[in-house]
Structure formats: structure tokens, C-alpha cells
């Protein structure tokens, strides 16, 4: 009986620790996602500034580029090219965010900003479009510098909280 209890306690502590590690990794992944999004925005900026490329074509190029956001932008490109679609870009963007995991890796605030960016994309003249892209990219850079500065503490905290929670549950069970 005692052995089973010991095994149970060990399992609880290991699982709680693992959950902490997963949350830590998620924090690291958020940085990677934002970095990839920043690169996509740079592509938007250069394509609009120098070639006046349409949103559909830019999304298709990002999709072909193998970024973390490839599937999402591939979906946007396909939907925009669909001649039977009676939806607008905002609706397509929102649907894409629900469909693809990549945007789920963002915080709630970042998700809102990303959705706002998508809704307004392509609706104005070149200067305003570039201004909006730059503004959003600055926001992402700000988020990235904040996250990168605190990433080690966040990962450590997640792991520690996981282990501590495991220990706490074990004590409660004993």
C-alpha cells in the first residue's frame, strides 16, 4: 500500500513539474511566434512599398516562405482568391485565427491587436497602409523586448510553480 502511495506521489510531482515546463516552453514559443510575425510584417512592408503587391499575393508569398505563419497566410490567400466568397478580409482573418493554432500562441492583447490589423489591412492608400504596418510592427517589437527581457524568470517561475503545486498536492494527499 505504501509503495502505491509513493508511486502516486511521485507521479503527481512529475506531472505537475511537467505542466510547469510546458508553460515555460509556451512562453518561449510566444517569442518565436512574434518574431516570425515581425518578419511577415517586414515582408508586407517591402512588398507594399516597392511593388504595390496585393494582400492576396503577399499572403501567398509568406505561405511559400516557410514561416511559422505559413498555414495561416496560405488560408487567407486561398480565401481571398476564392471568387465565390462573399466575405470581407476582416471576416476571413477572424476565421483564420480561429482555425489555426499559431494565433492561439498569442496573448489575449496580442490577439486583439492582430485581429485589428487584419480587419484594416488593404483598406487605405499606400502611405497609410505602410504607417499602420510600421505601427503594428513597433508594437510587436515592444512586446518582444519585454518578453525577451523576462523570459528566463518566466520559464523558471513556471517550472517552480509546477513543482511547488506538485509538492502541495502531495502534502494534501498525505
Amino acid at each position: 500500500m505504501a509503495e502505491i502511495k509513493l508511486i502516486g506521489m511521485a507521479l503527481i510531482m512529475v506531472s505537475a513539474g511537467a505542466i510547469g515546463c510546458i508553460f515555460g516552453e509556451r512562453a518561449k514559443r510566444e517569442i518565436k511566434i512574434l518574431l516570425s510575425l515581425s518578419r511577415c510584417l517586414m515582408m508586407f512592408e517591402s512588398e507594399i512599398r516597392y511593388c504595390g503587391t496585393t494582400v492576396n499575393e503577399i499572403c501567398a508569398r509568406i505561405c511559400a516562405g516557410g514561416e511559422m505563419w505559413s498555414d495561416f497566410f496560405g488560408y487567407i490567400s486561398d480565401e481571398l482568391a476564392d471568387n465565390n466568397s462573399n466575405t470581407d478580409i476582416g471576416m476571413i482573418w477572424e476565421k483564420g485565427m480561429k482555425l489555426f493554432d499559431i494565433s492561439k500562441g498569442l496573448s489575449i492583447e496580442d490577439k486583439e491587436e492582430f485581429l485589428r490589423f487584419g480587419r484594416e489591412l488593404g483598406s487605405s492608400d499606400r502611405e497609410s497602409e505602410l504607417g499602420r504596418i510600421n505601427m503594428y510592427n513597433d508594437y510587436i517589437k515592444g512586446r518582444l523586448s519585454y518578453l525577451e527581457k523576462n523570459i528566463n524568470e518566466r520559464v523558471r517561475l513556471c517550472r517552480l510553480l509546477g513543482v511547488t503545486a506538485g509538492v502541495f498536492i502531495t502534502i494534501l494527499m498525505v
Binding site: G52, V55, L80, N83, N86, D88, I89, S124, S128
Partner: protein
């Protein structure tokens, strides 16, 4: 993609559904007009009709579908491929060319800066003009344009709407492909307003021949210089020349050994003869005009202004 798909691709919501549902021969469709809170109108086989909500053509305005502001907004978004910024220049000019070479005229409120049109906002009027090519319309003109295998520098003159761009396009196609009169030549087209080749995403939507290179949306003078330097064309085709800069580029192309075919707005050879720059450089003048009965006439003149051929 057929004509119906090309048009319905940009017509969203109800207008798209109604046009798609019409039981008509779409090769005879000429225009689709959208105006806010006005009936949906199409020009079909030379006649104007309203489109009813029952997907039928009608002449009764009470039966017509009334276009909403949302229909126009969504159609414009689809037309601009959800990328308004990418069509700024076209919007300034008042039209956008879509897949298939169809031209969509737009009108709204012009945004003016320094007495020039900077942009267009509140787009409220859309006119989809269905493209139609006339293969063979240059057959009567071509025999006068060649000296052996060499082509004369040719100027096509006509008032607006008489068909000079259509004629130019067919000459380009036949010279490029080769015909009974001449073997195929490399042709360079400077298509500033996308009227000759009607390029969409860089691909000509009109048949301009197998040996034709197109510079699309480029100012004529710069485009001609670029073509001469980069594509070594035998013939350069350009639409609506007029400025001194255009004539300078035409002269440059001619001195480089290219034959030039150009068009110009005008009515009579005598009006053109007043312009010494023009009369001295071209070897053939093709005048298109309508006679007093409204019938199209083609008149061909040589360098001295002597009529060589033509008629109704």
C-alpha cells in the same frame, strides 16, 4: 475562366447572383453598370436593359433590382482585391483592368492636391466594360504598311471611340504572329493605360501575338527607351502619343532601327500636317473616322499626305 466568371468574380452579393443567373449569351454582354440606389443596368447586344430580381432582363424600371451602397462597396473591394493601395494609379486614371482584359470604370469624389487628382474616395459608380477583340480588323490596312519585309512607321489617327486602339492591337497581333504579307517580327508594346494588351498581373489578356513583349503601365517615352535598350524589338507599338517627350522617344526608336506604330487623337490628315514633327517622320497615316451616315471609314495616306487607299 470564361467571361461570366471573370465578371462575376468582382460582382459580389446580389448583383453577382443576378448576373450569374441570367439566361443570356454572355459573349454579347457589353456593359454592367452599378449606381447607388439606382437600377442594375446592363448593355446587351447593343441595347440597354434593367436586371430584375427574378434574374431576367427587363425594360420595366419598376421590376429592376436596385443597387445598394453595400453592393458597390463590396464590388469595389473585390475589384481592388482588398488592396486599395495597389490600385492608386489606376484609381487616379479612373479605371482598373481586371482578369480577361475587362475595364472597370470608377467614379466618386476626387481628392485634389496641388490642382492634380491625388486619389478617389466614396467610389459610388462602377461601369464594367466587357472586353471584345476584333481579330482581322487590320486586314484591309496591312497591305499598305509594308515595304517588302520592312514596316513603315505608321500613325493611326482617329477621334475617340472610332477604334484606333482595336486596329493597333490587331496590327500588333498580325505583325507579331506573321501573316501572308510578312514573317513574324518581335514587337514591343508600351501600354501606358493597359488598353492594348490589357495586362493583368503582368500577363496580356488580349491576344497581342507570340513575339510581343509588353511594358505595362509605364509612361510612353520611358517605356519606348527601355524597350529599345532591353528587348531589341523590330516594331514598337504605342497608344496615344502627343507630347514633345513622346515624339522625342519615337524619333529615338526610329533612329535605332525600329519601326514605330502609334495612335493619335485627331480627325483629318490636314490637322496633323500642321504638326511638322509628326508629318516628317511617319511613312503611313491611317485615318479612322465616321462619315455623315455614321459609318466607319478607313483612309490611308503616304508620307506626303497623298491618299493611297481606304473606304467604308
Amino acid at each position: 475562366m470564361d467571361k461570366l466568371d471573370e465578371i462575376c468574380r468582382i460582382l459580389r452579393d446580389m448583383p453577382g447572383d443576378l448576373i450569374r443567373g441570367l439566361d443570356i449569351n454572355f459573349t454579347l454582354l457589353q456593359e454592367v453598370r452599378l449606381r447607388p440606389f439606382r437600377p442594375l443596368i446592363i448593355k446587351y447586344n447593343g441595347k440597354e436593359y434593367f436586371v430584375s430580381v427574378r434574374k431576367k432582363l427587363t425594360e420595366d424600371i419598376n421590376d429592376a433590382y436596385i443597387v445598394t451602397g453595400n453592393d458597390i462597396r463590396n464590388t469595389f473591394l473585390a475589384l481592388s482585391e482588398f488592396s486599395t493601395y495597389a490600385f492608386e494609379e489606376e484609381m487616379r486614371q479612373g479605371y482598373i483592368t481586371i482578369a480577361g482584359g475587362h475595364r472597370v470604370g470608377i467614379a466618386g469624389k476626387a481628392v485634389i492636391e496641388n490642382a492634380k487628382i491625388k486619389n478617389m474616395k466614396y467610389i459610388s459608380f462602377i461601369n464594367i466594360r466587357v472586353a471584345g477583340e476584333r481579330h482581322g480588323c487590320a486586314d484591309r490596312v496591312l497591305p499598305y504598311l509594308f515595304d517588302g519585309n520592312n514596316m513603315f512607321h505608321t500613325l493611326i489617327i482617329s477621334p475617340p471611340g472610332a477604334g484606333k486602339t482595336t486596329l493597333l492591337r490587331d496590327i500588333v497581333r498580325q505583325v507579331s504572329n506573321g501573316c501572308a504579307l510578312v514573317c513574324g517580327k518581335n514587337v514591343g508594346v508600351v501600354d501606358e493605360r493597359s488598353e492594348i494588351a490589357a495586362c493583368y498581373h503582368g500577363i496580356p489578356q488580349n491576344d497581342v501575338g507570340i513575339r510581343t513583349d509588353v511594358i505595362d503601365g509605364c509612361p510612353k517615352a520611358e517605356g519606348m527607351m527601355m524597350l529599345v535598350r532591353s528587348m531589341s524589338p523590330d516594331v514598337i507599338a504605342v497608344d496615344e502619343i502627343g507630347t514633345a517627350k513622346d515624339m522625342e522617344a519615337v524619333s529615338y526608336a526610329m533612329t535605332c532601327g525600329c519601326s514605330v506604330i502609334a495612335t493619335l487623337h485627331g480627325n483629318e490628315i490636314k490637322n496633323i500636317r500642321n504638326n511638322k514633327n509628326i508629318i516628317s517622320v511617319f511613312g503611313r497615316y491611317v485615318i479612322l473616322k465616321f462619315n455623315e451616315y455614321g459609318k466607319r471609314q478607313i483612309l490611308i495616306y503616304d508620307q506626303r499626305g497623298v491618299q493611297m487607299g481606304g473606304g467604308d
